[in-house]
């Protein structure tokens, strides 16, 4: 909902309520508690001390002309257009750099000010092309607006003098162009790159008239350090930095606020449209998660939604060797239902299952697990969180009582020490990474625990962080060493522990962790990190004031992922860093709705709201609403489904928006399982790797084509709003509903809001959530119920859902996956900024210009030992498989550790990852694989087979995609 500031009826609360996100107030809000009263053009206004005159005027409804000012940037005072007169002061001070003062009387419009502003604009326009009618910014240009506002009627200097009108356009970036002939050198782009994004890629080169904006040292944008976040484009008041989509299509004519479908930050965007054509995505200033910022994925990589590869019609086939046959929705759903019912009749009720999507909405996820439990009649439902954050659910629920992070993203701005463990926020959660960098520039300290030197350690003006480059697989040894220092050096918060934590559990843990065998000195041989660095980090975190921990899949995707999550919670409780802003335990969720898919009951042992299926009272409530008896035993997890499929007891699977064939470990095993199924139903937007093994292909809808909600990593429920019609006529929730009806279990929702109402009815942490309230509040962080009717930004402020916090003993056990003479290197995996997970979306955009292939990063000494040069083809062998990637020599890791990403299916990164998994949740141990590396000349056998299989499956799809006569298409054997 938009909050319009009405000075006549509302008191002003700093930076929060009463503001219109679509309006630029000129300078950032001041957060002072002290209020100052003054008048502007005779209007009285009271604002926080430190507010600029420009902002105070805007809040009073008086718009002072400006060009170099914007309310997401610190005041700069270069354009001088915002000059005002102040009673008792000489001259014409810039209102953007002049703070308000008690009793100040400001005048914004006088004859002298009008002349001054016209003169300034005259100078600007004398060096600006007069092509407004053909300019892409026409109708949406601040320079044009201000020229109109100041009444510019002539340019007395003419246009023949020295100018920049012939400056060449830089078109190197695939998404925006840089036309310096239109630049007014206001520095907004440079400051946005510094202050908002934190990259410092742009600069002003030259002096005086020769000043020009430059990416790096005169480089093209694509060759510079620019990360294409779009902050500069958004900041530009002219057409100098302009989206190519706008240049091509023209200015949009309407917009819809929705939520990005990439990472777990959950940025709000205005989808700006012309009819049903999406012209551009503009980060929405009213979005609490991103506060008007964006990254290269959310801002620009939306072209996949209209890509030719989209599956537009339902298809079926009897065998994966048959061509796809386009059928009606009715036929596809009836075919699916018959297959599922036939399998259950033959192999039993538990022989089928479903996988929910962390990319789909809460409502869609809820329906898939409901279909499995109510229509299939078993609990064989799981989700991709199995392979990413399932240990977070287990570990945080065990220790803190709730399976979710504790803070808002904004909380990091009150952190004094930030600990990043096994996460790479500038690549995987880039908008939050920028916020973190902002806090580091303000002086917060940084500790990074990661085998690889990640970019957050190289934050410009961010101070020097402590990097603990531990050996892969030794997280628990490290967290124990940190806790040992805190306990033995008397750095605990005894008051917090005695009031908030279970004393028996604490005493047990304390005795355990104080043992000398956990000391940094004892653990050094295991972690490889010098003890003094570990002690320094522990002291820094414990004595920080506010210590905040952020972690990612480098924590969870280990054989002791759950133990490590509990170890992190131990650290936070021991130091009292729970229950207030600036601290907390914060899992950085990988996909847009991982949090939501877990909340919605995707796991086989839990109904929505993490309510165990064993609980008879819980089941009774669900049974009363769903109208069927529910199984009281947990269902199969994904890896157990695969094992059962290969064993011949699991025969049917419904997969919505999840590419298990690419993303799950030990690809050969997964492929064997999928080939064993009698019926694989895949609902997706493309023929993904999993769909190549499918018998039914149901067209999915992108986030642009549906209504619903996503829940981000800070438990924030955000609205997803439809901006265009679903390409195949049905939103994903409608497809699941139709499948359920075909199976004989009726579902009859007319809008996702009705599904949310049912979720609220059955889920104690969601009882206060509704679409109406989401419209009122903009977003809601659960728990939202009678105790917290507007949601819960910070959790555990008074107590824990389990009463007292439970310290957990975290004994370190080395993984079975160890380096050996045959496999002497340890492979670990991660993500890159420009690509998203399995890459199905981003590979179908120009983002591939940044990352066209996955490579193997190898340390120079390991490369030299093996005669490897940059760009060589490398065979990478593990105990389970082999693949081939190109070499990239890099000293980001220590010797003995190699690294790759997994965004391209042909890379086969998961051909070499093993079946090892977390002891509590079976989350795969992606982060530790013992490998050997050697120079090779050809792709691996798996890659050759993959290529052949891919070509065959594309050939089987092509006739259906082109609408050719199905009778002509022949089976391929």
């Amino acid at each position: 909902m938009l909050h319009y500031y009405d000075p006549s009826t509302q008191s002003y609360e700093p930076g929060k309520t009463g503001l219109n996100p679509d309006f630029d107030y000129g300078t950032p809000a001041s957060v002072s508690e002290t209020l100052v009263s003054m008048s502007i053009d005779g209007r009285a206004i009271t604002v926080p001390e430190g507010t600029s005159v420009l902002r105070a005027a805007a809040l009073a409804g008086i718009n002072i002309p400006k060009l170099c000012a914007s309310d997401n940037l610190e005041a700069f005072g270069s354009c001088r257009l915002c000059a005002v007169e102040i009673e008792g002061r000489r001259g014409y001070p810039a209102s953007c750099t002049t703070p308000v003062a008690e009793g100040m009387a400001v005048t914004t419009q006088t004859g002298k000010l009008a002349k001054l502003r016209r003169n300034i604009m005259e100078l600007y326009i004398s060096d600006h092309p007069l092509d407004c009618l053909t300019c892409p910014a026409n109708g949406n240009c601040e320079l044009q607006d201000v020229a109109g506002v100041v009444g510019l009627r002539e340019v007395r200097y003419g246009f023949d003098g020295e100018n920049h009108l012939d400056a060449e356009t830089d078109d190197s970036n695939p998404y925006f162009s840089f036309d310096p002939s239109k630049c007014i050198v206001c520095s907004r782009c440079v400051r946005a790159c510094e202050e908002v994004q934190g990259t410092f890629a742009l600069t002003i080169e030259g002096r005086g008239f020769d000043s020009v904006v430059s990416a790096g040292q005169g480089e093209a944008f694509m060759d510079s350090e620019c990360v294409s976040c779009g902050a500069c484009v958004q900041a530009c008041p002219t057409s100098t930095l302009m989206e190519k989509s706008v240049i091509d299509a023209g200015q949009p004519e309407h917009s819809v606020v929705t939520t990005c479908a990439y990472c777990g930050v959950g940025c709000s965007f205005k989808a700006e449209m012309k009819g049903d054509q999406l012209v551009r995505m503009v980060p929405y200033k009213g979005g609490e998660a991103n506060q008007g910022h964006s990254c290269v994925k959310g801002r620009f990589a939306f072209g996949y939604a209209t890509h030719d590869d989209r599956i537009k019609e339902p298809m079926i086939r009897d065998s994966i060797n048959d061509p796809w046959k386009v059928v009606s929705w009715e036929e596809a759903l009836a075919f699916s239902a018959d297959k599922i019912k036939g399998i259950q009749a033959r192999y039993g009720r538990e022989s089928v299952g479903g996988i929910t999507s962390s990319r789909c909405t809460n409502e869609e996820t809820y329906l898939v697990q409901k279909l499995v439990r109510a229509a299939f009649g078993n609990n064989n439902t799981d989700t991709c969180a199995r392979v990413c954050h399932s240990p977070t659910g287990y570990g945080l629920k065990t220790t803190l009582g709730e399976s979710a992070g504790t803070q808002t993203f904004e909380s990091v701005m009150k952190a004094d020490t930030i600990v990043v463990i096994g996460a790479n926020p500038t690549d995987a959660h880039p908008v939050f990474g920028s916020l973190m960098r902002r806090r580091l520039r303000q002086g917060a300290k940084l500790i990074v625990i990661d085998p690889r030197r990640i970019d957050i350690l190289e934050t410009p003006h961010g101070g020097e962080g402590i990097h603990l480059p531990l050996r892969p697989g030794t997280n628990v040894a490290m967290v124990n060493a940190l806790a040992h220092v805190i306990v033995t050096e008397g750095l605990e918060d005894q008051e917090f522990i005695s009031h908030r934590c279970d004393s028996d559990a604490y005493d047990t843990w304390r005795r355990f962790i104080a043992e000398e065998r956990h000391s940094p000195e004892a653990m050094e041989a295991i972690t490889g990190v010098p003890a003094d660095k570990v002690r320094e980090a522990a002291r820094l975190y414990a004595q920080a004031g506010n210590g905040a921990i952020y972690y990612g899949l480098g924590v969870t995707e280990h054989s002791q992922g759950s133990t490590m999550v509990m170890g992190i919670a131990n650290l936070a409780m021991a130091t009292g860093n729970i229950g207030r802003e600036g601290g907390g335990v914060n899992p950085l969720r990988g996909q847009n709705n991982v949090q939501g898919s877990c909340d919605m009951g995707s796991f086989p042992h839990e109904l929505p709201g993490y309510q165990h299926v064993n609980d008879a009272a819980v089941r009774a409530r669900f049974q009363a609403v769903w109208g069927v008896p529910l199984d009281d035993e947990p269902g199969l997890r994904i890896p157990n489904m695969f094992d059962a499929a290969i064993a011949g007891t699991f025969k049917g699977l419904y997969v919505q928006g999840e590419d298990i064939a690419q993303s799950d470990p030990n690809t050969q095993h997964v492929e064997a399982a999928l080939k064993s199924l009698d019926c694989l139903i895949v609902q997706d937007i493309f023929l993904n790797e999993t769909a190549k093994f499918a018998h039914v292909l149901l067209p999915g809808s992108t986030f642009l084509e549906k209504n619903g909600t996503f829940t981000n990593a800070e438990r924030r429920i955000n609205r997803v709003r439809k901006v265009m019609e679903p390409i195949a006529g049905m939103e994903d929730w409608q497809v699941t509903m139709a499948l359920s009806n075909a199976l004989g279990y009726p579902m009859a929702y007319s809008h996702p809001s009705e599904i949310m109402d049912e979720i609220a009815q059955l889920t104690p942490t969601f009882t206060g959530v509704s679409y109406d309230k989401l419209e009122q509040l903009g977003s809601i962080q659960w728990p939202c119920n009678d105790a917290s009717p507007e949601g819960t930004p910070t959790m555990h402020t008074v107590d824990f859902p389990i009463g007292k916090g439970q310290f957990a003993v975290t004994e370190y056990l080395a993984t079975e996956e160890r380096a050996s003479r045959k496999f002497p290197l340890l492979l670990t995996t991660g993500r890159i900024l420009s690509q998203y997970n399995v890459g199905a979306q981003t590979r179908r955009t120009d983002n591939s210009e940044w990352h066209a292939e996955d490579v193997l990063e190898i340390h120079p000494s390991d490369a030299e030992l093996r005669g490897i040069h940059d760009g060589d083809w490398l065979g990478i062998s593990s105990r389970v498989g082999q693949t081939v990637l190109r070499a990239q020599i890099s000293d980001r890791m220590m010797p003995g550790v190699v690294y790759t990403t997994f965004h391209h299916p042909g890379s086969g990164a998961n051909v070499i990852t093993t079946d090892n998994s977390d002891w509590a949740t079976n989350c795969p141990e992606y982060k530790v694989t013992a490998v050997q590396v050697e120079v090779v000349t050809q792709p691996s056998e798996w890659q050759r087979n993959f290529q052949q299989f891919d070509q065959r499956q594309q050939a089987l799809l092509e006739p259906a995609m082109q609408g050719t006569d199905q009778a002509d298409a022949q089976p391929v054997r």
């Binding site: 039993g348 009720r349 002791q560 042992h605 059962a644 290969i646 004994e811 509590a920």
Partner: protein, 81 residues
């Protein structure tokens, strides 16, 4: 049930036990592990591991056998087909 499936289940169970040895003596560890299986393992997995302990007890550690002795047989009752 394939042998690979059984091997994986045995590995999972032994891993759960190994990560809970700190709870005390074998009896206590087995109780914790049995509770874990009760909460998180599917009915069919419980059936398979219980069948294993009957047929091939030598493939399981002593604590694993103790764990399975504590597992509620009701939870592993075959589902109706």
């Amino acid at each position: 049930m394939s042998d690979q499936q059984l091997t994986n289940l045995i590995k999972m169970l032994e891993q759960i036990i190994a990560n809970n040895l700190h709870h005390g003596d074998d009896d206590r560890v087995a109780a914790v592990a049995a509770d874990h299986l009760h909460k998180f393992w599917a009915r069919s997995m419980k059936q398979q591991i219980l069948a294993c302990v009957q047929e091939h007890p030598e493939r399981l550690s002593a604590v694993a056998r103790l764990t399975l002795a504590k597992l509620d047989p009701e939870a592993a009752t075959p589902a109706e087909v």
